[in-house]
Symmetry: D2
């Protein structure tokens, strides 16, 4: 079933829900899901509606224009419209660790993720056989201080050439440059192996061990210019005990990382995430 | 701020959200929260809307009638309307264990629960001092096989005389009769000390220990005729290990029980629960 | 590093810890981990000790005999001795669902599981390509009422021929016969897709949906004659909401299943599980 | 049943477990619980043993000396010995929020905590009635910049005069001075309303809201000179969603705070906590 997804944002006001739902009703849109949220802090209203395209009276290319005329302009709405088809195209960036890659490919393989994976990029060769076994092109871009800018330029070229919609850093151990990030706003998902904002940066499990925390975590977030500071999409945790070594934390944490990252991808694919300032609304 | 809460249920159909939200808009209702849910299993649509009464154009007593005429009848809706004021009146039933009672009275004392507690009923005297310290009337009804019907009759009289809206069994160790339950449909909340439907009935921690489970739980549910089988409102769990004795399970479990029960009370007070068959919708 | 693991069980008595630890000390055993547990219910004492073999004064084949003479017989101990090398040999049984299989193979691939996987057996062909990609032999045994006994006989032959130490049912949708189970006591690990003892048997997610639970779970247990009633090794849960469909529960649950099953395998590989009656001690 | 609890720390070495357990065995000590831990990081060995005093051959006052002679000196052990009787004496410090206070008093009342509470100290009068209802002396010490040193001096006097063994800051909104803390090393337990080390300092729920975290937490720790940086005893978390306001976080968080703080008190009372550097071992 093909669907359209509309997300709107505007100053909170009476009559918005009525106006949007009336628009869908008048144009024969069968609503599958609708969710709204009022941010009392800033006084903004947010709404996400998903409806069937089949029976809808307005053709895809005209929906946004007609909606703006009939509803959006009146409330000074920011609108974004997307469709569940064709499938979004996701690029994976990996280094040496395989747990997140396997988890993603497993869901891709079983059909849980409605996504195309045109390519996997890595700064190491280690995971090439895994990727090839799934029939996905693998590109090796060794990165060092000298060639980083040049390699990123080539990577971006490759992403554009493959019509990549969003990027997932599945334990990619390189920091992307400001320029790279700027090309994919709110479209690069990273998994950080700590419960942010605790333990930003490198070796968070070592830092967690040293601090003696009783719970460790993982955080999926959109990448922004500032390291590990982008909008958080999903987090989860696991309990640890004093006798767990750093190596134990790494292993326990990996089980959290992969599930958290895959949940974030799922939300992103379903267009359920709206970034507001440095926070995310997860429509559900 | 005084608010009205409307919950409607009907066959799913196009235009319902538009009709309800338009009704509120036309009558100057400032929406505070609206949530809807489509039950694909039975094809029913559910909606909960809460709005400010102050500015609303229709007086309290007329809302339900006008809504039925203008919207409800068209969609053959079942409607229920309530208000957040005056505060609901809650009766507590307890036996000897104090953890749930303390937790509820603590929230009542700090203003977290917007509720009146006109009385506490118990089949034992143990908790009388606790209840009196909070300035709440305490009634002692010793119960045995012979006097049970008679005692329940008196308890019901007391509840009616105190305009009690709903009853909370805070680890009350007696089974209420079918007649008693019938007088308070979806208005008696019980906390069962297991993760239902596992370990129905008496001594669930002993049963959990014997079965060797690695996680125990607690379940808050509406009381129905069948023991521990009513609609589940909230559940939570705690991890246990092989070296935990039955006494440990009891103590670990109590921390879960009291939080789960208080969450259920909070949902009930906010009119966020809709019972459908033997399931609950928790609007949020 | 090669290690020996000794697990003893006997009536609780003074001096046991002293006797066992003195035995290891006198024979130059460098203890890596020691854990004990007194079961107050039955009055039994349990102890697990793991130590380095390199420097130990007694050769592998003699340890059990010498220990019995010097310590075990005095306390009427039941003893079991094992070694972390050579790696145990694990057979996987699967049907059509791939999430547990991928999770296990991913850990096998990354070296997290110190195990050999000589073969995978399935009643369907679906997962053959996945298994082959990992270079593991795949055997197809279609099963129906008529051929079940015969197929099990052949499967057992294959297991024996491959020196299989233990079997993991990674969402294998067939019930093993009493005879099959009898051949591998406490050596067949199953993952059941519910929080046992709730929802025994087929279609637990459907049953969970129908009962309206707010939390679902998964249980890894040793297979015994009685369906889903064997000793529980590990459990975990995930929160669900009223708007989750049965399909949602299936998907949410799969993330729990795979992590729970892999934890159980990890405990089994490390010889950290002792079955007592129908419960498990997990030494840690 | 009266018990003795011995905790030892020394460089890891062969024969320690044997020596300690042999000492207890020879002197007729019936072991109730024994647990050990090797810290691979620093190469230290830790052991906690609890045994019955009744039948023990050495009188209380002599145990430490005899143990040192027969075992401790040989391994250069640091030893600490304590007894479960008489009950430890705990002072509570509170400000205005009642949830932790109620939770502690509820457990005290039901006998879950084996402790004496000779007094409660507060910088506000709000919770005086609650404390008085439990028959516990309440002392009011208003604190400002000018009188802080003087008030702390009086508080310390009061604590000494009441033979207080340890202090619990149950949401006490004042920072204790370095001198005060120095008088009770590893004996002042604080509950911080965040998942440390995230959100150190004031208003952590506001900071958590602003950062957009999906999980909030609470941390019980020993107070040291550096704010919110002492050894962590226990932590737990709760899930939050985008629509939760700061006030929601406060309320959700309070349920976590009170359970975490009470767990920490329970461990402290049972002498199950050993501080090593800035980490804690929780024997179990």
């Amino acid at each position: 079933m093909q669907t359209a997804i509309l997300i709107v944002q505007c100053k909170d006001n009476k009559g918005i829900v009525a106006a949007v739902s009336d628009f869908l009703y008048r144009n024969n849109g069968n609503i599958i899901e609708v969710d709204q949220y009022i941010d009392d802090e800033v006084g903004d209203f947010f709404m996400r509606a998903e409806w069937e395209l089949d029976t809808f009276n307005i053709v895809k290319d005209e929906i946004l224009r007609v909606f703006a005329e009939e509803v959006g302009n009146r409330f000074k709405m920011k609108c974004s419209l997307s469709f569940n088809y064709p499938k979004p195209r996701m690029a994976l960036f990996v280094s040496k660790l395989s747990h997140c890659l396997f988890d993603i490919l497993s869901r891709y393989h079983s059909g849980q993720f409605q996504v195309e994976i045109p390519l996997v990029i890595s700064n190491h060769m280690d995971l090439r056989p895994v990727v090839k076994a799934f029939g996905i092109p693998f590109y090796h871009f060794p990165v060092n201080k000298e060639n980083k800018a040049e390699q990123e330029r080539k990577q971006l070229e490759l992403l554009k050439g493959n019509q990549v919609d969003f990027v997932v850093l599945a334990r990619y151990m390189q920091i992307l440059s400001r320029d790279f990030v700027g090309d994919y706003p709110n479209s690069i998902i990273n998994i950080h192996h700590s419960f942010l904002p605790a333990f930003v940066g490198a070796k968070p499990y070592h830092a967690a061990y040293k601090r003696g925390v009783k719970i460790i975590g993982a955080t999926a977030h959109y990448v922004t210019e500032e390291l590990d500071a982008g909008p958080i999409i999903e987090q989860d945790v696991a309990r640890v005990r004093h006798h767990n070594t750093v190596e134990d934390l790494v292993q326990i944490g990996q089980d959290v990382e992969k599930v958290v990252l895959s949940k974030a991808i799922k939300y992103h694919l379903a267009k359920k995430i709206q970034v507001v300032g440095n926070r995310t609304i997860i429509f559900n």
